[in-house]
């Protein structure tokens, strides 16, 4: 047996946008075990939520993540609305889907750029970030901000998107679709990309189930599990199917995310075509009382908000389980057996969001 040694990977590492440490137990160049160490960006947001008015927590929830922020506030609002029997206007539901899908696209494009950068494909990184910029500008023009939109509120949304803006949105989506068409041959067929991703970091469907994997990690193992299919917000009125692959490796996870980019373009177009007229919010009175669990599908998978109210403006407890939190055990199953050079790529293909995870 080769001599074992331990390599600390992170918390600061060129490929990691956020601090995460893995203690890698190595036999020569092969990883035999990985032990995670987090806690570098724990902010105690759940505790802070108990000190704030539940309406203010909408904006606190948005700051759990700097990437899929809108979907966090959406999940929180949906939980409170169910707890307080608030019926959200249809138009607000469609607007919520539009901003959710914009966030999914910019998140996947950021991931694509960072992953390309991790295996040394600089031009693909630039291409991904350039396309992402189109989405960020679209969010700025529709919501007034590039990431932290602040548009979701309990009872609906705070801003409308006038039908006169749909032309501009369609033009931007055309541009994004063209960029994706240009990138597709490189991402899906290029020799260098396939060499770094195919057959690397593989987990079986059984392992994905046992570790509770969610989102593209589970979808890449054949699980057609996508919480949008339950029809929350306006998803029940839109036509789409979860994207799946079966190989369970880094390449399959890439394929899933890339196909979801096209799906998001289509979902936003469907929203504009079916957008109902009417109000965008209803007034909400009173305070939440009781327990509820709200779930939505983020770019990285299912997010869970446990909310417990006690009839006052302050919540008794807010618990957030983010998708990266659920995918860390799956990551620990992917790493044993891989080469040290593949570790950064494998970590990035779960699309880790550490600030989300630690809250």
């Amino acid at each position: 047996m080769a001599k074992r040694s331990v390599i600390p990977f992170g918390p600061q590492h060129p490929v990691l946008p956020e601090p995460l440490q893995l203690k890698l137990v190595m036999e020569d160049e092969k990883v035999v075990e990985a032990i995670p160490a987090i806690g570098y960006v724990h902010r105690g947001l759940e505790r802070l939520a108990q000190e704030k008015d539940y309406q203010q927590v909408t904006y606190l929830a948005e700051r759990v993540c700097g990437i899929c922020s809108f979907i966090h506030s959406l999940t929180f609002c949906q939980g409170i609305e169910e707890l307080m029997n608030v019926t959200v206007p249809d138009r607000a539901k469609f607007l919520r889907v539009m901003w959710s899908e914009m966030h999914r696209m910019h998140s996947h494009l950021l991931w694509l750029g960072l992953t390309a950068d991790a295996f040394g494909f600089e031009s693909l990184f630039m291409q991904g970030m350039r396309t992402r910029e189109t989405i960020l500008q679209l969010m700025e023009s529709t919501a007034g901000a590039r990431i932290m939109l602040g548009t979701c509120t309990v009872g609906g949304v705070r801003r409308d998107i006038e039908s006169s803006a749909f032309g501009e949105i369609n033009t931007a989506l055309d541009s994004v679709a063209r960029d994706l068409d240009q990138m597709a041959p490189t991402i899906l067929n290029d020799y260098s990309v396939r060499e770094r991703l195919v057959g690397v970091g593989t987990i079986t469907a059984q392992q994905a189930f046992e570790t509770g994997a969610v989102g593209p990690v589970a979808k890449a193992c054949g699980f057609a599990r996508d919480f949008r299919t339950t029809g929350y917000a306006a998803y029940g009125q839109l036509d789409f199917k979860p994207v799946t692959e079966t190989a369970g490796d880094c390449f399959a996870r890439t394929q899933v995310r890339f196909a979801e980019l096209y799906q998001s373009v289509d979902l936003i177009r469907q929203c504009m075509a079916k957008m109902p007229a009417g109000p965008i919010a209803v007034p909400v009175k009173g305070n939440p009382d009781g327990e509820i669990i709200a779930r939505t599908e983020q770019p990285r998978g299912e997010v869970i908000y446990y909310i417990k109210g006690n009839g006052t403006k302050n919540l008794e407890r807010l618990r957030i389980r983010t998708p990266t939190f659920a995918n860390i055990p799956a990551l620990l199953k992917m790493l044993p057996g891989c080469q040290l050079t593949d570790v950064p790529v494998i970590i990035l293909t779960i699309d880790p969001c550490i600030s989300c995870t630690e809250r």
Binding site: G39, E210, E291, I293, I304
Partner: protein, 124 residues
């Protein structure tokens, strides 16, 4: 409202959890709530988008049996509960000893409600 909730005890916890995955339930997460004299520990499972919850009332000072031998994915959340609520977890497959999320100079069990001492001193 929270539905599909089954109340369990410490003694039946491991058997109840072990019975879930063979029935096709995916482990989702755990939630801990400080309810004053006890902690509410909830184990959430999902099957076909329906959430089921096992709820355990754990008196303060009692140890929580770890389910990480049955469900590996629970090590992360059990360590988090150990950190944030100061609940000792017995049999953790990977034990960070209360230093998973928190640093050495962090407050102890910061998510527990502050204890209010209602006793009054008779000689005051």
């Amino acid at each position: 409202m929270l539905t599909n909730v089954k109340e369990i005890s410490r003694d039946t916890l491991l058997n109840e959890v072990a019975a879930m995955m063979p029935q096709g339930y995916r482990f989702v997460t755990m939630t801990c709530v400080d309810c004053g004299e006890y902690h509410d520990i909830m184990y959430h499972f999902d099957k076909d988008y329906v959430l089921s919850t096992l709820r355990l009332k754990l008196l303060k000072g009692q140890k929580l049996p770890s389910i990480s031998d049955i469900i590996f994915a629970a090590i992360i959340v059990e360590n988090e509960i150990r950190d944030l609520f100061g609940i000792p977890v017995k049999g953790l497959a990977l034990n960070y000893e209360g230093r998973f999320l928190l640093t050495e100079d962090a407050p102890i069990a910061p998510f527990n409600k502050p204890v209010v001492n209602t006793e009054t001193k008779s000689n005051n």
